[in-house]
Subunit: 195 residues, 2 copies
Amino acid sequence: MGNNFESIRALMQHYIEIDDVEWELCKAMFTVKHIKKKEIVLSEGEICRDIYFVVKGLLRIYFVDQNDDEKTFHFSVENTFATDYRSFLREIPGDFYIQALEDTTVLVVTFEMLQLLYANLRNGEKLGRLIAEDYFIVFNDKIKGIYTQTPLQRYNSMNATFPRILMRVPQHYIASYLNISPVHLSRLKYGIDEL
Amino acid sequence: MGNNFESIRALMQHYIEIDDVEWELCKAMFTVKHIKKKEIVLSEGEICRDIYFVVKGLLRIYFVDQNDDEKTFHFSVENTFATDYRSFLREIPGDFYIQALEDTTVLVVTFEMLQLLYANLRNGEKLGRLIAEDYFIVFNDKIKGIYTQTPLQRYNSMNATFPRILMRVPQHYIASYLNISPVHLSRLKYGIDEL
DNA sequence: AAATAACAATAACAAATGTTAACATTTCAA
DNA sequence: TTGAAATGTTAACATTTGTTATTGTTATTT
């Protein structure tokens, strides 16, 4: 269904001009994939060969630490990308998992297809640069938030970062994203400390 | 002195081919600047219009939090860049300071000059994309370290991330980079807790 | 050289956060 | 539909980390 492509076309055109000829090229580079809730599409140790663009649904990027605890690194909501960036860009085994938290529809771009886009769109490289810069700022702000905000402040701003996330995913995933224990998050929410 | 440019030429050529004609163009885009120890070259509230490439010396990127505490966000050592990325890319007032921790020599590239480089080098946009991707991975790894490593582990790996940093800067700057108090860092180093 | 400021270590105490366990509720699967 | 698994809250206790203050040392400035 062509409709899946409308959102990524809009996103790309936010960065560069794309004419109809180029757009036909683009469409050929994407594959539609449906991911069932709880399905894992990338595991630790694999080379991540794809970028996922979330059309509908929700992906969770996480890794497993030394104590076998899952740490949620990022949520990828509608109209955003998901990949193991280090693994994808360097073509080396990664240490992230990517899992669907809802039934999810994504557009898949492989590393090879992406290089074709960079090379064959008039402003392909510029598109890549601008998207990389935007995600760079996302990470920049995330780090800054870790330095300046309390866990509760970060909890309260999560809905702004990830639309409706607090109503969409189990709370312990939120806690792991905040890098605090589920028990502690529950306490913070209800202000049980203030006695 | 032309020698200041050798390191950035090597860095750029690590990403793309640059012929002699292009290199003359590049050189014209850089300005050499000497920064005295403790001098602040960017302050909160200013629009950051430059990227600094550190030829020699050491810069500290930090911000001031709600409690007026300085938080060290990043150290820029030789052969790396320093800027307030959000402010620079978006051309909006930023909230970072950039300060020299040693007498430092940098090459300055303004936003305008950088756009000229992107537009006029054969692979200018690609250069921008690849550098953005590399710094993206730097931030990616920094966030991952915050999730997975204890403050002491992060302290012990700082010399790998920033050459000789532990011998170059006062310890309380290291503590603020690790997002812990100077007192706590001192305790961790000497293992005073284990009693 | 003397005065001052910056820095690091330590101690004592306070606050934040983690861990384990118990329990109740909801979701999911056979 | 029923039992099992997942989830969220709360309590008790342990650990980590922060705060304040004191002290001695090292740098910096005059």
